[in-house]
Each structure stands twice: as structure tokens, then as C-alpha cells.
């Protein structure tokens, strides 16, 4: 073989702890992928605001290391650490180096053009200057929010049905958003599903993600055999690569659903990925039946089977959007069943609220000049956080310094707010940065709120149900 085993094994050289990368200081490696090594890092103490393009860090939560509960409207992690994905290009032939640069460009492009709470946040990209580590000098570095673990790690420790349901719903939210934005992930697998510090899903690794042109796009012939749809093995390789459609992600989702509810066991039998791919092929060609593990609960088994429909055409009916709707219906049905003593009351309360709103509108048909300020109540779309009153940092929400700048670490004030808190809003900005919440509601509307002391910050309108008619902010 032509490869020098020493240079290929063990991933080569690592950045030592303490190494400075832009505004960040390396803590240590936390993972390795095909082309990249991921490190934990923290903002360097002497990194002044604005010196490196990443800006200064503003606030943190308490010392317990919990992150905010919301992906979009959040800061970086509570302990101030981030993940650095380092993609070395030194030592690669020019064509490969271009491939790596292209993968990094895609990740950055997707993060820029289609941010979402269920996609891992990209905080910055930079080029590594490491003259004393020639193998790493010139590497591309993606600075990302740090996750707690991957779904693969979580599967190893066991996932109960409720947790699994939450994770699959999260993946569906991310996929629905990607597909709606015209992207296909193409490499969905538990390794690429991160679990944020808040316990919520963050899809990651968009190095192979492709943008669709019409109904399909083309990708380099790469993938993870266990998650490739059966038609991929027959798809011809054209000038631009292989044809990819959104149903490829749906197939992969079917495999992931099975793994989540069957303790990590893939749905197709076989000792190696190759054997399992062959079994999937056999199933797709109608020579074998789909035999899903009996421990997968019935609702999820049906869902997985739909995702694993044998052909693109049969799978096309099951979009991420429609699957998500089914999951939400299933979950809210379960919630109602569990809350059996008072389902009627809950519905009644809802109806009362709606009536009250109508009455209010009727009583004040002419609002007159907008008021100087209004009380708004914070709304956290995370249902688990709505009942809690312990002000757990996990359920806290962030407020922005500047509603026109990306909602990143350095653009969040130290003060956190919780569901049902009331804030004094003094004006509104209808054209801020668009914010999408966990329920996929989007809004560019922001309220300026007063904080204790002579300070203000900005709350995105998706974080409250109130819509006071305030004057426009100057």
C-alpha cells in the first residue's frame, strides 16, 4: 500500500491543551470524525471584544454548567466552553484540501442561511495558525456550541420511551426545517445528532449536506452504509455525483427511530454494515420482510416502517413535516391521557381565554395612541419548562443585547428570564433578526424590555404570547 501507516493511524497530531485558536483556548480533544477532530475550548481570558471578529463574551449562567433551554435564543454554554471542529488541510493533495474546504463552506453556509434551534449553532469559522504544528497549520476551524453528548453516547446509556419520543421529535423538527429550507442532510446518524446541554437535539455535521435544485440535488458519493437508502446502491454516478432526494434523510430517520427504541439495535440483521446494507437491499427488492424489533412501541414501529418504505416513491408521502405532525399528535394524546382527571377543565380554560381575548378586542375597538409601556409575560415553548417554578437554569431563556446581530454568545445579557416572568416592555422592533422557536414559529418582532438597574435588553416576540401595541423603538 502507498499509505504510510504511521501518518494515517490515530489521526496524527493533536493540538495540546492550552493552545490558542483565535479567541479560544483548547481544553482537550472530545471526539474524532472522518476528516476532523473536535476539541473542547474556552474563550481565552485576554480575548478582548472585537479583536478576532468573534466579539467579547457577555454573560454566563450559574456555575452549575447548565445551558439555557432554548437553542435559538441562547448564549454559548454556561461554563463558557465551545466545541472546535478542526479540519486539517496540510498534507492533503490539493483536490482533497478543496474537498475539506468545500465541506467546511457548506457547514458555514447552512448555519448562516438556515439557522434553527434544532441545528447546532456555528459561532465562528477561522483558519488555524499553528506554525509549530505543521500537520495542523492552516486547518479550517468551525467554532460551534458545545453539546453534552451525541445520540450514540446516549443510546449506550439507555433511553426511555418519553426521552426517545422527545429526541425523535427534535430530529424531525430539524429535518423539517432543513427540507423546508431546501437542504438535505445526507448523513443523518446517531453520531451526528448531538444532545445539547439542555437535553434537546441539535443536528450537526453538515459537511455533506446539499442544497436541492427542484426535487433533488447531487452529492459526492459519500455516506454511512447503515443509513443509506436502498436505492442509493443502484443510483448511477453522474458528472455532479449521485442524485439525492429528501427521502434519503427519511430512510436514515427510520433507522435512527429503530435504534432509539430498540436499545441501539439497527433494524436490518447482519454482523457488519455491509451485511445489513445487503439485508436492506433484499427487503427493498421484496425478497425479505421488514422485521422490526418487538420492543419498539407500536406507534414508533409504524413510524419507522413508514420511513423505511422500500422505494423513494413510497417514502415521499412521509415528509419530515408530516411525521412531526404525527409525533406531536401522539405526544399530546398521551399527555391528555395521563392528565385524565381534568382534561375537560383544560379545554374549557383554553376556550375561556379565547373568549376573553375577543371580548377585550370588542371593548376597546379604537386603541388610541400606543402606550408608553406594557407588561409582557415570558412564554417558553418547551412544555417541560412551563410547569416548573424552581427557576432551574435548564429552563432559562436569554435576552439579546442587539436584536439585529446574530443571537450568539456574545450578544446575550447576563440576566436570564423564565416562563411566566413578567417584563416591562417599552417599545417594539418589527424588523429584528428572525427567530424560530421550538414549535417552528418565526418572528422578526422584538420587544425592548427594562431590566433591573438602568438597563434594557431585547426579548424576541416568539418568547411571549402577548402582543402589546407599543410604539416603535427609535
Amino acid at each position: 500500500m502507498v499509505h504510510d501507516p504511521d501518518s494515517c493511524e490515530d489521526g496524527g497530531e493533536l493540538l495540546p491543551p492550552g493552545h490558542r485558536v483565535g479567541a479560544w483556548t483548547v481544553i482537550g480533544p472530545i471526539g474524532e470524525g472522518g476528516w476532523a477532530t473536535v476539541y473542547a475550548a474556552r474563550r481565552a481570558e485576554d480575548a478582548a471584544a472585537g479583536t478576532d471578529g468573534a466579539g467579547g463574551r457577555v454573560g454566563t449562567d450559574g456555575p452549575d454548567g447548565a445551558d439555557d433551554a432554548d437553542g435559538t435564543v441562547g448564549s454559548d454554554d454556561a461554563d463558557g466552553t465551545v466545541a472546535l471542529k478542526v479540519l486539517p488541510t496540510a498534507g492533503l493533495a490539493p483536490r482533497q484540501a478543496r474537498q475539506v474546504a468545500e465541506a467546511a463552506r457548506r457547514e458555514a453556509e447552512l448555519a448562516r442561511s438556515a439557522p434553527h434551534p434544532r441545528l447546532v449553532r456555528l459561532l465562528d469559522t477561522l483558519t488555524l495558525a499553528a506554525p509549530d504544528h505543521p500537520a495542523l497549520d492552516g486547518s479550517i476551524v468551525l467554532v460551534m456550541e458545545r453539546a453534552r453528548c451525541t445520540l450514540r453516547d446516549l443510546l449506550a446509556t439507555g433511553v426511555d420511551e418519553e426521552q426517545g419520543a422527545r429526541i425523535i421529535a427534535g430530529i424531525c423538527e430539524g429535518l423539517a426545517h432543513l427540507h423546508r429550507s431546501g437542504w438535505v442532510h445526507t448523513d443523518l446518524k446517531p453520531e451526528n445528532v448531538l444532545i445539547g446541554r439542555d437535553g434537546e437535539v441539535r443536528l450537526s455535521d453538515f459537511g455533506l449536506a446539499i442544497e436541492l435544485v427542484g426535487t433533488h440535488g447531487h452529492s459526492a458519493p459519500m455516506g454511512t452504509p447503515d443509513y443509506l437508502p436502498p436505492e442509493r446502491w443502484k443510483e448511477p454516478l453522474g458528472e455532479r455525483g449521485v442524485k439525492i432526494r429528501a427521502t434519503a434523510d427519511i430512510w436514515a430517520l427510520g433507522i435512527v427511530i429503530h435504534e432509539v427504541f430498540a436499545a441501539g439495535v439497527p433494524p436490518f440483521p447482519g454482523a457488519t454494515p455491509t451485511a445489513r446494507s445487503a439485508a436492506a437491499q433484499q427487503y427493498a427488492e421484496g425478497r425479505a420482510a421488514l422485521r422490526l424489533a418487538p420492543d419498539v412501541p407500536p406507534f414508533w414501529r409504524t413510524l419507522a416502517a413508514d420511513c423505511l418504505a422500500p422505494t423513494h416513491a413510497a417514502r415521499a408521502a412521509h415528509t419530515a413535516e408530516s411525521l412531526l405532525a404525527r409525533i406531536r399528535a401522539h405526544r399530546s394524546g398521551r399527555r391528555f391521557r395521563r392528565a385524565r382527571p381534568r382534561p375537560r377543565t383544560a379545554l374549557l380554560a383554553l376556550a375561556t381565554c379565547a373568549t376573553a381575548a375577543v371580548t377585550a378586542a370588542a371593548l376597546w375597538p379604537d386603541p388610541g395612541p400606543p402606550p408608553q409601556s406594557a407588561r409582557i409575560r415570558v412564554f417558553n415553548a418547551e412544555r417541560g419548562c412551563q410547569q416548573r417554578t424552581d427557576r432551574d437554569p435548564v429552563c432559562s431563556l436569554g435576552l439579546a443585547v442587539d436584536p439585529l446581530r446574530p443571537y450568539t454568545a456574545d450578544n446575550v445579557v447576563p440576566t436570564r428570564v423564565w416562563h411566566d416572568d413578567t417584563l416591562d416592555a417599552d417599545c417594539q422592533l418589527p424588523t429584528g433578526l428572525p427567530i424560530i422557536d421550538e414549535e417552528d414559529r418565526t418572528s422578526t418582532l422584538w420587544y425592548r424590555v427594562r431590566l433591573p438597574g438602568p438597563a434594557t435588553a431585547w426579548l424576541p416576540a416568539v418568547r411571549t404570547r402577548d402582543r402589546p401595541a407599543l410604539q416603535l423603538c427609535p
Partner: protein, 254 residues
Amino acid sequence: MSGILVHLPEGSGEAAVTLRLGPGERARFGRGSAGTPVELRLGDEAVSRLAGEIHATDDHWQLSNLSNTHAYLVENPEGAGEYLRVPPRRIGAPIPFEFSRVVLPSRRETPLSFQVFAPDHVYLDPHAHGGSWESRTMTAYSLDETATYFLVLVALCEPWLRDHSPAAVPTTPQVVARLRNHPACARLTARAVSSHLDYLADEKLRIELPDAGGRADRRNGKREAVVGLALKFGIVREEHLALLPRPEAAEPGR
């Protein structure tokens, strides 16, 4: 996983037969008769009516020897004499070769044989590292870098890899000449080079060819498409040039 390909060359008045078996599919071979149908008919008195069975499994295949008396040999034509002996009545012997020639005893001068190709063998990407290999993202088309077809591919790509900015892809005779000094290619013929090219384009990379022109155009188009895609997707890289024998023209001092 597209399965395996079984090819029986023409002989003794019978046309050549090519069967494609998907994973889990089987093909029986033997002399055959009205009562014992076979998918692969071998017209030789020395062969039983039902001599054996091929079963495509995972990325490889299994050979069952249904003869009571004869052992079959499975040779690896690229393995410098490497072969397996499958004894009588052995069921489901796994065959590890990508290329195999199954040899059955015959009363004729030349032994009776057919070929089996298993193009689905998977190789890890050379630069990949970290994590479990099972869930690693990899190139969906993996080539055996020690196989002759790979040498042919590297020879075809060589002008681009050496930045000669060539006008055209090397021709088949040029490839034969280029590989002549390689120990594995001393007896490589132009026809073999063409077969390797077809195998790469049709079975390994599954290249989509625009429908155009006659046979010669198509052959050239295939050659160009193979080179273009192999370079574009990094299947052949600069480091692979080391596999080729030294270029003669590069040593003007001698």
C-alpha cells in the same frame, strides 16, 4: 450492495451467459435436465446435472458443492496462485475474492470454468480515522487499491495527477505500455484493459453515460467519464502514483 455477477464464457456451441444476483439470490449450476433445472448450464458430461449452487450473501458469495465425488477450485486470478478448494458436499463455503474463477473437473483438455465478480467489497477510506469504523462516513464506491483495475485507473489518471494538462485520456495501448514494467501486469493485454475499464465504469463506480454516438465514441466517453469522476471525487489521488512503475521518460539521465 448491488450483488454479484456470474459470467460463463461462450464455449462448446453455447453462447456466453451473464447472471446478476442481488443479495440473497441464488443460482444453480450443472448439466441440467428436464427434471433438474439450472440457471447456469454447463454442457459437459463430467458435470452432474445439479453440480452446485451460488448464493449471493452480504458483500460476498457462497459456493455449495453438490457433487458427491468432485472437489471444486475457486481461483483468484489476481492472487498470484491464490485459490480455495471446496470439497464434495460442502454447503455454503464463503468466497472472499472479488474476482473468482470456479474450476470444475472436466474430461476435456481445458478445465471447465466460469467467473464470479463480487464488486461490493468495502474498503475503509485511507485517511479516515477515529470513532467506530462501523458508523464512519465513507466513500460509497470503494476500490481495492491492490487490484489490477486500480492500476489501470491510476495509469489513466496519471497525466492529470502529474499536472501535464493533457489533451486526452491515455489510450488503451498507452495504458498497456505504461503498465508493462509492473510485475502484476507483464501479460496485461489491451482487451484486459478494456474489461477492467468496463468493470470500473459499470460495476464499481456505476457511471451514468450520456447516450451518444457509436461504439467507439461510447468507449472513449466511458474512459473520460471514469477518469473525470475518479479525480473529482478523490478516488484516485496524487499518492497513488507510487503504485505505478517508474515512468521511463522521467529518467533522461540514464
